[in-house]
Symmetry: C2
DNA sequence: CTTCTTTTATTGACAGCGGAAAAGAAGTGC
DNA sequence: GCACTTCTTTTCCGCTGTCAATAAAAGAAG
């Protein structure tokens, strides 16, 4: 069976051990006693679960970790040894592939991007494999094995099956990407929707760490949303969830490619902003960057467009908050470059639409460098590795 | 401790046993083998978990239950003995209290309603206690003990604490209703938001049985929504969730009491419909029933108002579906009396706004007699009883 | 400097849950 | 009656996590 080279499995046989590891992963060095509290387990159980993880090197005792200068015996802190394992994260967009090599703590060691010539599955797979193999050879210098590969694709993705059901940008339908990729790279492969992948990264290593209910809103070429409810990323019964971009906010608004009017994406996506800035100012801006510059130079027409985008985003966040009551909403994405232009409108529109106690929700931003999407993919690989929630193993194709 | 008379606890000590009981409760008579499948347990585990439940009388073997006329040994079906325990469900509205006595399968045995003179906590509590005690004496004829009381209140309710944080209709703030009621009735009391309570009833005994992801939309005096994600009712980090009524659909729409424009409630609630029918027809209809009659008689102005309400409801459902991807949406509530007037618009607006695979969601209606809200409250009591998720016990006030 | 208090960590005994395998039970078809 | 199938139960067993007791590592108190 388990034919992958050097693939001793992760020694968290029990769900509790995986939970403990995840807690330590998200919350830095921790005392066993505190782990016990957070996991609602007895200290003894923690000791026993931690031991094999230390013996295999996934956890280490923090030597200088002497905390609590007050009473009692000081705690022996435990943390995850990031260098113990490596992972690859790959984000496939319509015109390029971004790949990162991360450690077990999802810290990026190397990042690479390659333009994508051919969007068809075979073409993507070829480019992807080259990039992955390149990173795999480079990874050899880091003294740890690569334990898994995560791939993030926008669209309707079935993670359990490793199947890309439909991706509009790539024009794919029912591509068994996990199996295909696993065959060429010889490692376990996890495939997930890009926004959900980013949400996992945020949940474990970012602004959502420790929260059981939060939402991640991405603003950029599209408007996306990842949802975490009771500590789990929402995937929806049909693999579709968080489609915040097509909430319709104004029946008199601009037409959207989805057929409706006044969708958030039809108002606040990059292409919508470029279109509206052109129409509103007469200046023939070529892309989002130029539109942004025009607004930053103070052009009132352009600023108005951004203000409206902020209104739409704030309204959309209000809808999410009213429906799910998250503890926090994290706004991220390339669109944050324009944040100063619509921060106020987002806040106002959110405050106006949030109902009752939902308004207590903490709305904040989190910058998102371009490798972040690929890092999200790596996070899903780490998640699969820990859960031993078997990703697509190279060989056996079970059903 | 456990001082409640005749309160031998429910003998499902393990989560698995509670899960098994819930499965049998929702899915009628079942063979142990099928229970094992649904619960992802071994048949042996089911046998062992079922035995004490049968010994205590909560489950019974269906004598005539010989299924599967085909091959193999016929199954011995097991079902919940509804008559083994009784529960009370109470719904508190602004001007009346509705109470039902149900059995363990949440079938209504008696229903009562009493007008409410005084909305202040003390007044409500007095009326509620009278009604509950009346039902408790009547319950003595049914040969089973009442095991718990559920109370449903609209607004912001913290079920874990049994606390009504804020109820606009009652003008309550931070009323520890569960403790207060438990003291006067001497039984465990569960307090929950009314829509969530109804959602529990739907999840266990109604159109949501067996589904892990669905939404319940109630149309009536207000527009509410209960959400079930991965088999659990969503309560939100701050106790607010499913506030579908204040999704804003049209910035040019009618003003809502929440301060916004074009909220679903400002278009499709009973009061909004009455207001708009008056304005649109010139007929001074007194209430929703008259408005409905006018529309049913074919008045085009009135019909238009209902059509617009249908549009708003369909849009709201579309938003829920885009965000959460439920398997099914159940439309219910007193507003269903007008369903023939806006069914088409709901369907169309939903279809137009649902994105991609989310459109596969099954949207259906489910009638809702007036006692149903109280039945929802009883369902929460049953849920607390099974989970032994301790509701508010009469005596000890821990924390 | 010794002793007490406080908190953390570990150990070993133990209970209980759930699985595997095998046997038993209750039918149909031949 | 016999073979076959499927459901149910029994027995045994491993494993997980709790409990209670103990060790360990400090500061505080006298």
């Amino acid at each position: 069976m388990r034919s992958t080279p050097s693939s001793e499995a992760f020694p968290a046989h029990t769900p509790a051990a995986a939970q403990i590891f995840t807690i330590v992963l998200s919350h830095g060095p921790l005392a066993r006693a505190e782990i016990a509290q957070r996991a609602a387990l007895s200290p003894a159980a923690v000791t026993k679960a931690v031991r094999p993880l230390i013996e295999t090197g996934y956890l280490v005792e923090d030597v200088d970790g002497r905390s609590r200068p007050g009473l009692g015996r000081p705690a022996n802190l435990v943390r995850v040894d990031g260098g113990r394992a490596l992972f690859l994260g790959v984000k496939v967009t319509g015109d390029e592939i971004i790949a990162v090599l991360t450690d077990l703590r999802c810290r990026i060691r190397i990042a690479r991007r390659t333009p994508l010539a051919d969007r068809r599955p075979a073409g993507v797979l070829a480019t992807l494999s080259d990039l992955v193999l390149e990173l795999l050879t480079e990874a050899e210098g880091f003294g740890a094995a690569v334990k898994g590969v995560g791939i993030a694709v926008s669209g309707d993705v079935d993670r359990a099956e490793g199947l890309v059901r439909y991706s509009p940008f790539l024009e794919w339908r029912d591509v068994p990407l996990a199996d295909l990729a696993a065959m060429t790279v010889g490692l376990p492969v996890t495939v997930d929707n890009d926004v959900r992948a980013l949400t996992v990264a945020e949940q474990w290593f970012g602004a959502g760490a420790g929260l059981s209910d939060f939402a991640l809103v991405t603003v950029g070429a599209g408007i996306g949303c990842g949802l975490v409810v009771r500590g789990r990323v929402v995937a929806g019964a049909h693999g579709v969830a968080g489609e915040i971009g097509h909430l319709s906010l104004d029946p008199a608004g601009p037409r959207c490619h989805c057929g409706n009017r006044g969708c958030v994406e039809a108002i606040a996506s990059e292409s919508a902003i470029v279109r509206d800035v052109r129409a509103g100012t007469g200046v023939d801006v070529a892309d989002a960057a130029e539109a942004l510059e025009l607004a930053h130079r103070g052009d009132p027409g352009a600023r108005k467009v951004y203000a409206r985008a902020g209104w739409a985003i704030g309204r959309a966040i209000g809808s999410v908050v009213n429906l799910l009551g998250p503890e926090r909403v994290i706004i991220s994405g390339e669109g944050l470059a324009a944040y100063d232009l619509f921060a106020e409108q987002i806040r106002d529109a959110f405050a106006a639409s949030a109902f009752g106690a939902a308004a207590r929700c903490d709305v904040r931003t989190h910058p998102l460098p371009f490798e972040e999407w690929a890092r999200g993919a790596a996070a899903t690989a780490i998640q699969s590795f820990i859960a031993s929630d078997p990703p697509k193993e190279p060989k056996d194709h079970k059903e």
